[in-house]
């Protein structure tokens, strides 16, 4: 993560004025905002320098395509076709001719400039309100050239934040399980990629089964389940250094790990003699605490963002249902009472909702409910899907979906999907192989 250093040089926040464009993200957006992303302009000398270093012909256009793709995938924006742009990128960045942009129905415009300064990549960009004819934001930053994709993501985050009033989620990564091979002998590896599917990297070799990776709050560590030496145990992995260590080495199986919101503890299940209970382990002093005490299956624990509560699923009522308790294990309350069985509760980063998997009449659903169980809303239905994970701003969920095989057992696939909290904008997240068990990182640049 050290090379992610990005120096913010200028921050100009314009005075808030009335009548500027705003995007409402609380409703499903059927009319995405038309936005023009003008390619970032670049002088010939800088272009050649970056072509040498990064093997990209025009880094300015490459960065603006990342922004354009992010905006499009968010479902809230409609990036306009560049062929229709009338103004040259360099001139537009100085002073857009608003009537030209208005003519192609753009409501917002992004312009910018890339230059090569002392072996670094310097980017400035501006966001313009076309109808009001005003600059909404101008920002510049400098970073190492290899960070060029992240520059595109950070620009998107800033634009998204300025237009929606919410933090963005584009400069983030996804850790997941990459899958290959026949269904009866799947080979699984930990993999990490940027939120848009770029920079995919495998973190394990596939020699042992690995499941359910989850980031710590700073997204530098991952906790997961590994079947190394046929002993299913919770492990900790440092993404930068590649060091792995076992943290749940108890005589039995440890599984279903997650970090506490302060990153100091791992909460997990420990199964022994046919009974699964929830435990925490302090990563500093390795002190272990037993949180639940019931002869049923208690698993899939997840902390509230303030660390005061834990949600989990248990079959103590006879079937898998969602419960909430205080973080010391007291005050256990069942919160899911709808028809069907409920599992994999995950607390939203905003603290107000719990996302879950539900099985009812042979169909699997991803849904959300308030933390007291009220207001259940099912977002998507399918043959099999589970394990939602929240975007850091709590607006999007990523999960995995498996296909039904045919009568000969063929046609199996597992893919990552995302959907907005509104229930709109469901789409497959690109991965080089099949994938499952996704976990979304925090914002890397903050």
């Amino acid at each position: 993560m050290k090379n992610f250093l990005i120096t913010l040089i200028i921050i100009l926040i314009p005075v808030k004025s009335f009548g500027l464009i705003e995007v409402d993200i609380t409703r499903g957006n059927l009319n995405p905002l038309p936005i023009a992303v003008s390619p970032l302009s670049i002088d010939e000398e800088s272009r050649k320098n970056f072509q040498n270093i990064l093997k990209k012909k025009n880094i300015g256009s490459e960065i603006s395509s990342i922004v354009e793709n992010n905006l499009k995938v968010s479902g809230l924006f409609n990036p306009l076709n560049k062929d229709a742009f009338l103004q040259e990128p360099d001139i537009a960045n100085l002073k857009p001719r608003f009537e030209d942009w208005n003519l192609i129905k753009a409501q917002a415009l992004i312009t910018g400039k890339v230059s090569y300064v002392e072996e670094k990549l310097r980017v400035e960009f501006r966001l313009w309100d076309v109808l009001a004819g005003k600059e909404m934001m101008a920002l510049a930053f400098t970073t190492v050239p290899n960070n060029w994709r992240r520059v595109g993501h950070i620009i998107t985050d800033k634009v998204y934040e300025r237009l929606t009033g919410e933090r963005g989620y584009f400069d983030t990564r996804i850790i997941y399980v990459a899958e290959e091979g026949p269904k009866t002998q799947r080979v699984k590896k930990l993999a990490i990629m940027d939120q848009d599917g770029a920079n995919n990297k495998f973190l394990t070799l596939g020699n042992e089964l690995v499941l359910t990776p989850r980031f710590n709050p700073t997204s530098q560590l991952v906790t997961y389940l590994s079947y190394f030496r046929n002993l299913p145990r919770v492990y900790l992995l440092d993404i930068e250094t590649g060091t792995q260590e076992v943290v749940g080495d108890f005589p039995g199986m440890t599984f279903a790990p997650r970090f506490s919101p302060d990153g100091k503890k791992i909460i997990m299940s420990f199964a022994k003699d046919g009974n699964s209970e929830i435990y925490t382990m302090d990563l500093e002093n390795r002190i272990v605490e037993k949180i639940t005490n019931h002869p049923s299956i208690d698993t899939s624990p997840s902390y509230s963002p303030d660390g005061k509560f834990i949600s989990f699923n248990s079959d103590r009522s006879g079937y898998q249902q969602i419960y909430v308790m205080k973080s010391d294990g007291s005050n256990v309350k069942r919160i899911s009472f709808g028809k069907g069985i409920y599992g994999t509760p995950v607390w939203s980063p905003r603290g107000d909702l719990i996302a879950f998997t539900k099985l009812h009449k042979g169909k699997f659903y991803i849904g959300v409910m308030r933390t007291d169980g009220s207001g259940e809303r099912l977002l998507t239905e399918n043959f099999y899907q589970e394990a939602p994970s929240w975007s850091p701003n709590g607006r999007v969920l990523i999960f995995y979906r498996e296909t039904k095989t045919d009568s000969k057992g063929k046609g199996f696939s597992a893919k990552l999907w995302s959907i907005d909290l509104t229930g709109y904008n469901e789409r497959q997240v690109p991965t080089p192989t099949d994938g499952s068990d996704p976990s979304w990182s925090s914002l890397l640049s903050n």
Binding site: G252, S269, T299, G343, T357, F383, S436
Partner: protein, 159 residues
């Protein structure tokens, strides 16, 4: 409009009939299943002649059926005769459940088999338990018969 309504009603009646007939037969032995517990032998391997290696479970259950108990008694007798052998009980679940819950369920199933073997005189020192949840199905189908084969505890020789 009217025709589509008639068709729709007709369809509902057909569906209702199918549902009823499914209910009527659900507890009977249908081919290779009794209720939803697998009773066939397609996937079964043998630890020794006449000693099947696995037992099957109903959906979401870890209760041993009469047939399972019979199989485990045969395994116990064989283990008593071969006192040097140690075993791993591998617990599995079908694909119709969340991953983490299924890991716990597989562990519970393997332990149900372990407890039964212990009541027939097999020391817990000779038995270890390993849950695979839904990670290692034997049948890759997405249908009730395939799922019934996958809900299992398999006794594997460890030495």
């Amino acid at each position: 409009m009217k025709l589509s309504k008639i068709l729709k009603n007709g369809f509902l009646i057909v569906v209702a009939c199918l549902a009823l007939s499914a209910c009527a037969t659900s507890k009977k032995t249908t081919g290779q299943m009794q209720g939803d517990v697998y009773t066939g032998t397609d996937t079964v391997e043998y630890l020794a002649s006449g000693v099947p290696d696995r037992v099957f479970f109903a959906t979401n259950e870890s209760v041993l059926t009469t047939a399972s108990r019979e199989t485990l008694r045969k395994q116990a007798a064989w283990l008593r005769k071969n006192s040097k052998i140690t075993i791993v009980l591998e617990g599995h679940a079908d694909e119709r459940g969340t991953r983490e819950y299924n890991l716990a369920l597989g562990e519970r199933r393997a332990n149900a088999a372990k407890d039964y073997l212990m009541t027939y005189g097999i020391s817990s020192d000779r038995i270890s338990v390993l849950s695979y949840g839904k990670e290692r199905p034997v049948d890759s189908g997405s249908n009730p018969l395939a799922w019934s084969k996958n809900r299992r505890s398999v006794t594997v020789k460890a030495n």
